[in-house]
Symmetry: C2
Subunit: 337 residues, 2 copies
Amino acid sequence: MTTIHDVARVAGVSISTVSYALSGKRSITESTRRRVEAAVRELDYRPNAGARMLAGRRTYIFAVTEPLRADTYEPAHMAFVLATATAARTYDYDVLLLTQDEATGGLSRVTSSRLVDGIIVLDVLREDERADLVRSLDIPSVLIGVPDDTAGLVCVDLDFEAVGRMALDRLADAGHRTVTLLGQPQAVYDRGSNFPPRLRDAFLARAAERGIDAAFHAVEREPSDMRARLATLLDADTPPTGVVFHCEEQQQTTALELLAERGVAVPGEMSIVSAAPTFPTSGFRPPLDRIPLVPAYTCGRAVELAINQIAGSVEPRVELVPPTYEDHGSVAPLPAA
Amino acid sequence: MTTIHDVARVAGVSISTVSYALSGKRSITESTRRRVEAAVRELDYRPNAGARMLAGRRTYIFAVTEPLRADTYEPAHMAFVLATATAARTYDYDVLLLTQDEATGGLSRVTSSRLVDGIIVLDVLREDERADLVRSLDIPSVLIGVPDDTAGLVCVDLDFEAVGRMALDRLADAGHRTVTLLGQPQAVYDRGSNFPPRLRDAFLARAAERGIDAAFHAVEREPSDMRARLATLLDADTPPTGVVFHCEEQQQTTALELLAERGVAVPGEMSIVSAAPTFPTSGFRPPLDRIPLVPAYTCGRAVELAINQIAGSVEPRVELVPPTYEDHGSVAPLPAA
DNA sequence: CTGAAAGCGCTTACAG
DNA sequence: CTGAAAGCGCTTACAG
């Protein structure tokens, strides 16, 4: 194994100079820096991680806690894990994955053994024991999501309430007076997931403000449930003319298939907005307007805040990322009755 | 921070005794072991990870490389990551997650910096650059999956060929002469995923051996594709009386829905086997026989082999886990014509 | 059965 | 701008 001593010898300098040349923590003559770099390349030197951790009190590892509950497959979770790992790498950080059974125990363990410099908490519940733990842990931590009690926490998330309002406003502005939000499976709301109720409640509250007739329905994973739900809506006395999806890709494509089968024109007879999807909706038939959930941005910001905490200190806060509206032509003015 | 010196002082022993008491690497008087353990508990001591790595030349971390390609959502991947993490913890190991862009670069990096003791490779392609890298890396590594060239590698996987044969045999033994395998999206086969072709080819080869009329079709993710595909099959001159699914949950439920809509009795008129699902099929209507893919077992064995490699040496090998058949009543004898 | 000590490979004050 | 040296907190021969 090649060590810093080998590099120092080849470059003809001391090991401290090698260390500083690599870290940039003190100024180095251009020529010696180049010699060090050449030696590093020649020997293919890579600092020993354990030694670096021990001497430098920095591990360059984040713990990422994502329960990955066996029952909830949501691919969106994978997207957040991926985005967090990618963002971490831009700061030379790796991610250690902590799952369900290691949720709190694992966090305590990796924190007190100084295995990680910080914690990123994913899939935050409204009441989440990891939030309480993190509050007590005195280690840089960022939650991606907003629990009910945010005291003392640093949280980053898409502003799901703004998403709900934006979707409602878009439809209402186009003249729609009867709208429906088709959401996630009921279990997601029951389990205490933080963002689906935020979106739902803001949607309904805005509708009430504007005097719009709005309804909400949870939709299960089986395609049959979306079909049944949508069929019931279409067959009602006053069917909605605007629909907002806050469900997964399969549900949305199933709904579009049913609408096509029944000859309901989108947006002619039914305007649709896809709220907070992690997937593209421009390939749907027809393409759907969407207010995207952007894991890369949210996770990037979360990692940035964690890095800032490691460097200095960051005030507790809830940072909500404002949503943006992508028009793909699936909302049209309500035709005159 | 509490260190081993604190524990030693409180327990009234030397730090080496503390270390040995904790690792069990030399025999300790029962009474001193108890005093050490009491001190550890009292101080809530946890060995410093960096120091442990440096002095012990063991990091207790596995690198898990799972590309998590943004385009392939397959929830099964999440199940394997989860199962690997869980299995690792049973040996006191944590997992560092390496994704797509860090596939080979990341593996080299964490290996040469001695950040990890071993590598678990997930989502193996038939020709996988990670396999070549791992071969050259001289670090304990296990592939979950079987690339085309397995020379010098330790691989563990479900025996997908046996799965294909088992499914065919079950249907053929029940008298079915025309059978169809409905597989994954075409892109999965094109991308070079290792197991779908293995299952498919063994299925077709066994059918040829036994003189069964067998066909294969890739099925895309959109429910409409499964519907169209299945409708075409049902409307054919000689429709299959036996079907094997090697596709995701949504596709399978969609297919069952269509069969119900068209009044095709399962297993009365159509026998079905679900091949290599990670999800339960007993809740389907009707419940389906399955030959399950068991990530917990496969990943458990992979981790075990990695641990064995760390402890000593393990010969290169391909370990194929024999499949088991779960009968839920979805295969019936072919009714007399 | 136990202890004193060397050493793992770095980082970072401390000097010059 | 650079070097010699202390020290990070463990593990593990080496002694007894």
